[in-house]
């Protein structure tokens, strides 16, 4: 990639990793993470669902910034069974044209279960058990910290070999 240096790419990708952000705050909202398909076949798309609930007495931001179904407004920790990140190399989501959808969430309300296609940025093509957790900056100032979601498990299984009849 010509426009950005390799070092910058690594940093850019790290920008979507929640694990590097140690500060967790009981913020103005909570994040509930789920998935419709806890078990998927290797090579298929992997989607998670993120629900943001405003637990404060003021409006909180709930904007999305999709690119390829992946919501860049969250930090992601997608780890394999050894606890290692499975971030795909060489992808900087910020370098993809995307959308930015402003959103205000009233106190006491929740967003829908929004989808985010994590397999766009994370390599989930190998069979195994993966843990997923997302976090979100609390406000404009990243120093305010993040709110983390629950952790979910996604099992990737190998595709079934073709049956004798189909061989």
């Amino acid at each position: 990639m010509k426009k950005l240096g390799a070092l910058f790419l690594i940093c850019a990708a790290c920008a979507y990793s929640g694990s590097i952000f140690g500060q967790t705050t009981n913020g103005a909202f909570s994040i509930s993470l789920s998935t419709d398909k806890p078990t998927v076949t290797a090579g298929s798309n992997v989607d998670i669902r993120i629900k943001l609930t405003n637990t404060s007495d003021h409006v909180v931001d709930c904007a999305t910034a999709y690119v390829g179904g992946f919501d860049r407004r969250y930090l992601y920790d997608v780890l394999d069974e050894n606890g290692k990140s499975v971030l795909k190399p060489g992808i900087d989501p910020e370098r993809y044209p995307g959308g930015y959808q402003f959103c205000d969430l009233d106190p006491g309300t929740s967003t829908g279960n929004r989808g985010s296609r994590i397999s766009w940025l994370y390599d989930l093509t190998k069979p195994g058990i993966y843990t997923v957790q997302v976090s979100r900056f609390i406000g404009n100032d990243e120093k305010q910290g993040v709110v983390k979601s629950n952790t979910i498990t996604i099992t990737v299984v190998a595709p079934e070999p073709p049956s004798a009849e189909t061989k």
């Binding site: 910034a65 993809y96 959808q101 406000g139």
Partner: protein
């Protein structure tokens, strides 16, 4: 014995009765022997009502005549008895002498399928009475002459009791006419028989399940065993009801002989939510996208439809189940329209949508017969749906701040963005806003779905041209932003500008759809309106500073329309019957693009 009695019964049976009663008469024998000729004049019978009788029936009789009181000795008894012309006895009981001129009794007439004559006889008895030769009188009743005198029986016609064993055809379709219906049975009285015996010609009546008469005509009693007629099955019969066909003697007195059989009348109904839909004046209210599951009653055992056909007015589909991964329209197929039940969805409002169901069966003696049921629905939809668009027309170049360790930089935005870039929280104003308009027809969700038709980014400058191209598909999530109940939808497409190029363009083309999904069970979302919109944004860098270099937007709200089956240009979403279809997410692919002519040409098309 019965045969013997049949041959000699007219004479022998009174005698036998006398023998049986002999011990009772012993005291009187001497008187009889000495003075029976002193008995009063023989009793006479002048009338028996009712008359005639029908075989197999029981009647309460009133017998009138003279000398009907029990006489004094030696004329001991005046027993009444009834004998048919075929020799059978009719049981007579409850005999009650009211006066010398009136007696009441009850008679049960033996069953039979031939006309007979019942002889009602009254005579004096004595054990040693001598019967003289009987002679015919009043039809077939012989006169009884004894030493007491001559006793003249009263003849009552006995009409055969009709029975019906079958009706052909035995299955009728509601509302249809049937000629040459054959009623087979026994004991029918033809016109010729009627003229000979005085019995009425057999009457046929057919009664529907609700008790109403079924019109029949051209009734002809062909023989004692066959009647032919024409009939019309009731038009509003239940899905399957049983009519009653009755053969009777139609006598004005007494209980008519009535024997029935039960042809089936096949009706036809369209059933929705467990209720028949048959009143076009009160169509069941349904809404667009509501699952319409229609059933029809099962045919009676042994009857199989040879053909079933549904026709459904309006824009109707078999299914539409959109997800992020794809959406396609399943149209009703021929096989769907040839089943006994059908499930579908109306996509657009229909003030009066007619559904027709026809089935045909082969009926013996009647051939292939078909029946049609109609149902009318009022399909309610969104009132004046539209999308109110606020287009800020503001492609701009904004500098977004660093976030999470990644430096900030310039962005080409359709809208205005400030603050840190993602994943941090930027603020600003979207380039376009969409607001749903209109009133839903009921409870449900009104939501947006955006389809990216094309999204082409191109950068040129000092290095190799670089670009991104998105495959068409859903923008982000289904529904838009994962929200099934949004008050609005906004979009601010943004793209980071590189520091190694000096020109950038982005051409974005999308269609924002407004959907509504009813809360009714198993409903599907239906499109209400849509806004095709696009922008062209450009930026150039001079002396290291990126600045916008023009661009424009275009948009306009339109109603979803079933005639929109194919896109009119490559930058419109695919549709079936006006319903958008897609194949997954709009996903960009980026990389060096040495051959930039193609992209430039595409940009020019926009």
């Amino acid at each position: 014995m019965r045969k013997l009695l049949g041959r000699f019964g007219m004479i022998a049976k009174p005698f036998l009765r006398a023998v049986i009663l002999l011990p009772l008469f012993i005291p009187a024998i001497s008187h009889a022997q000495s003075g029976w000729w002193n008995c009063p004049n023989p009793p006479t019978i002048s009338s028996v009502t009712p008359s005639p009788w029908v075989a197999g029936q029981t009647y309460n009789l009133v017998i009138t005549g003279t000398g009907l009181l029990t006489p004094t000795q030696p004329c001991n008894e005046i027993p009444f008895y009834v004998t048919l012309s075929n020799g059978e006895d009719a049981a007579l009981f409850n005999v009650s002498t009211l006066s010398a001129t009136e007696v009441t009794a009850t008679v049960t007439v033996p069953a039979g399928d031939s006309a007979q004559t019942a002889c009602v006889t009254v005579e004096y008895f004595s054990a040693d009475v001598v019967r003289k030769t009987a002679s015919p009188n009043r039809g077939t009743c012989p006169t009884v002459t004894t030493d007491f005198g001559t006793f003249v029986p009263f003849a009552v016609p006995v009409c055969p009791g009709p029975t019906i064993t079958s009706v052909t055809p035995s299955t009728w379709f509601a509302g249809k006419s049937y000629d040459n219906v054959k009623v087979i049975g026994t004991g029918f009285t033809t016109t010729a028989d009627s003229n000979r015996t005085g019995c009425p010609v057999t009457l046929i009546t057919i009664t529907a399940a609700d008790g109403s008469p079924v019109p029949i005509s051209s009734v002809t009693v062909d023989s004692k065993t066959k009647i032919t007629l024409s009939g019309v099955a009731p038009p509003t019969a239940d899905p399957t009801e049983t009519a009653t066909i009755t053969a009777s003697t139609a006598l004005s007195t007494g209980t008519p002989a009535t024997l029935t059989t039960q042809p089936q009348i096949l009706g036809n109904q369209i059933i929705f939510q467990n209720n028949p839909v048959n009143d076009p004046k009160s169509p069941p209210p349904v809404v667009v996208g509501q699952q319409i599951a229609l059933t029809t009653p099962a045919l009676p055992s042994g009857i199989t439809a040879t053909r079933t056909t549904w026709t459904v007015d309006g824009t109707r589909i078999a299914d539409y189940a959109p997800t992020t991964d794809g959406a396609s329209v399943t149209e009703l197929k021929d096989e769907d329209l040839k089943k006994s039940d059908i499930t579908f969805y109306w996509v657009y409002p229909e003030p009066s949508a007619t559904v027709t169901y026809e089935y045909c069966v082969d009926i013996p003696e009647a051939g292939n017969q078909c029946s049609t049921a109609n149902a009318t629905f009022e399909v309610d939809g969104y009132d004046s749906p539209s999308i109110n668009v606020v287009d800020n027309r503001s492609p701009s170049v904004d500098h977004l701040d660093a976030c999470n360790g990644v430096p900030g930089g310039p962005y080409l935005d359709f809208g205005v963005l400030h603050g840190p870039h993602t994943p941090c929280t930027a603020v600003g104003q979207p380039g376009i806003q969409f607001f749903p308009e209109g009133t839903p027809p009921g409870d449900g969700d009104t939501f947006f779905v955006q389809i990216v038709n094309s999204d082409i980014e191109h950068e040129t400058g000092r290095g190799t041209p670089y670009g991104c191209r998105a495959r068409p598909g859903i923008d982000g999530d289904y529904p838009y932003q994962g929200d099934f109940q949004p008050s609005s939808a906004v979009d601010a497409p943004e793209d980071a500008l590189p520091n190694d190029q000096n020109r950038a363009t982005r051409n974005f083309n999308a269609t924002m759809y407004l959907f509504w999904k009813s809360d009714t069970d198993d409903s599907i979302p239906v499109p209400l309106a849509y806004v095709p919109w696009k922008f062209e944004a450009g930026a150039h860098r001079i002396l290291g500073i990126w600045s916008p270099s023009g661009g424009g937007t275009d948009q306009g709200s339109q109603l979803a329309d079933p005639s929109q089956t194919n896109p009119r240009s490559p930058t419109e979403p695919q549709k079936t019957l006006g319903i958008p279809i897609w194949n997954g997410l709009a996903t960009p692919t980026c990389g060096p693009q040495p051959n930039s002519a193609e992209d430039s040409a595409t940009v020019e098309e926009l």
